[in-house]
Every structure is written in structure tokens, then in C-alpha cells.
């Protein structure tokens, strides 16, 4: 499934996050929605408890965006490539981005954690999703957070404590 959201049983609020993540990828002119775009979507809404949680931890939308930009700049510089001004990369894009591996993995991790630690019918929450995103040990999000001086594991523990996923590592493949 490359076009639709990874899980068919998503609640309205998580669907909203997914749509916001698509918009984040489109804003950057990208054809693939990755975990970093889901993180930006979560940080982008201060009216939600997860948005406020991220803001309280120094990760409002602007801070996440800056951390991600720094990660790309450093990654390019590591191989001697200077980043381009975003204005020189603007182009008409009409296709809806498809879901990338890191976003799918974040949704999968979030769903497993939610299933494991809750009784009865359960649906993903935004905190489950944040927990799933922070479960990645490698890749763009952990690099961006590390460059920004954020302790990803401690942040993930805070999320786990917030949603009662205290033993969540067992649900992290």
C-alpha cells in the first residue's frame, strides 16, 4: 500500500496527523512522506496535548524543522556538498506523496505498543505515534534530534510514562 495511510483503523485525530504529514512532505517538495514529516505534523498543532508536550520539551514545529534542516546540511557537508537554497529547488508538484519506510515503521511500532499495553478496543493516539517515531535508532529523526542536543531515549521514556507504556521496549522490534 503506497498511497494510503498505513493502518485502516485510524481515528480521526490520527488521520488528521497523517494528512498534515503529507502536507509537510509536499511543502518540502518531496514525493515520500517519512517519519520526520509525521513528527513535524505532531509538533505543528499546539492545540493538541502531544503538540504541547513537544513544545515543553523544546520541540515546537520551528525547532523540529530547524533540527531536520541541520541534519540535511551536515549530511551533505559530510560528502562535500553544499546545500542549495530552497528557492532554487521550487517546482510544480501535483502528485500526492506516498508513504515511506520510516513512517510505516513508526505507525507499526505505535500500533504494536498500543495493542500490547491497552485492554479492549484500542486505537492509536498521537502519543503512541510519537513513541513509535522515537523508537527509530537510526536515520533522519534520531540524527536530527542528536544534532539538536535532544536525548531521544529520555524523551521516549517521557512519552512512555505519559501514556502508560512503561515496558514499551518489548513492543519495539
Amino acid at each position: 500500500m503506497s498511497e494510503s495511510i498505513p493502518n485502516p483503523g485510524l481515528s480521526g485525530s490520527i488521520r488528521g496527523v497523517a494528512l498534515a504529514a503529507i502536507v509537510e512532505a509536499q511543502r518540502q517538495g518531496l514525493a515520500i512522506v517519512e517519519a520526520e514529516h509525521v513528527l513535524l505534523a505532531l509538533a505543528g498543532d499546539r492545540h493538541t496535548s502531544v503538540g504541547r508536550f513537544l513544545e515543553e520539551h523544546g520541540l515546537d514545529h520551528a525547532a523540529v524543522l530547524d533540527a531536520l534542516r541541520q541534519e540535511r546540511v551536515r549530511s551533505l557537508q559530510a560528502v562535500g556538498v553544499a546545500p542549495r537554497d530552497a528557492k532554487t529547488l521550487s517546482a510544480t508538484r501535483i502528485q500526492r506523496p506516498r508513504w515511506g519506510a520510516s513512517a510505516r515503521t513508526a505507525f507499526d511500532r505505535a500500533q504494536k505498543a498500543a495493542s500490547r499495553f491497552r485492554r479492549g478496543p484500542h486505537r492509536l493516539t498521537a502519543f503512541d505515534l510519537l513513541h513509535g517515531i522515537l523508537g527509530a535508532e537510526l536515520g533522519t529523526v534520531p540524527r536530527a534530534l542528536a544534532f539538536a542536543g535532544v536525548d531521544r531515549r529520555a524523551l521516549r521514556d517521557d512519552v512512555a510514562a505519559r501514556v502508560g507504556l512503561g515496558d514499551a521496549p518489548a513492543a519495539n522490534p
Partner: protein, 82 residues
């Protein structure tokens, strides 16, 4: 048969991780740059064949990848047989 040990955990920043991250960043940059450069070329009067030759791909390939997008951009793509 050689028994394989589970891989050690790796840190997201370091020599190998930096090279792998550079691959991701370069791919992303190349995709964005191709979209922008092809659009700019056609806005500047280049033909599909010229764009394809410059990119080192077939005319069919560049046409398939970019035609719909550039039609939507409002670029007059008639008489672009060069």
C-alpha cells in the same frame, strides 16, 4: 553453516551512519533538483529531447516522468519536438 550474531546497536551519528545519511540527503536533493531543473528548462524553451540528452536518459523516460506535472504547471508544451 556459520552462526550469525545479532547485530550490535549502532549510533545514528558516526562515519558509516554519516555516509548512509549522505546517500539519503543526496537522493532527496537530486529528486528536488531534477524537478526544478526540468521545469526551468521547459519554461526556457528547451525541447524534451534536449532535456533528455542533458540528463542522459531517453526522451520517453523524461516525458513519462514530468509531462503531467508540467502540463499542470501551465507550460505550453506544444512544438517541443527538439
Amino acid at each position: 553453516m556459520v552462526a550469525r550474531m545479532p547485530p550490535e546497536s549502532q549510533e545514528p551519528i558516526g562515519d558509516v551512519a554519516d555516509d548512509l545519511a549522505a546517500v539519503v540527503a543526496l537522493r532527496e536533493l537530486a529528486d528536488q533538483l531534477e524537478d526544478a531543473a526540468v521545469e526551468q528548462a521547459l519554461r526556457s524553451g528547451w525541447g524534451w529531447g534536449q532535456v533528455a540528452e542533458a540528463l542522459g536518459v531517453t526522451r520517453q523516460a523524461v516525458h513519462k516522468k514530468h509531462l503531467r506535472r508540467l502540463e499542470q504547471a501551465g507550460i505550453d508544451l506544444r512544438r517541443r519536438n527538439v
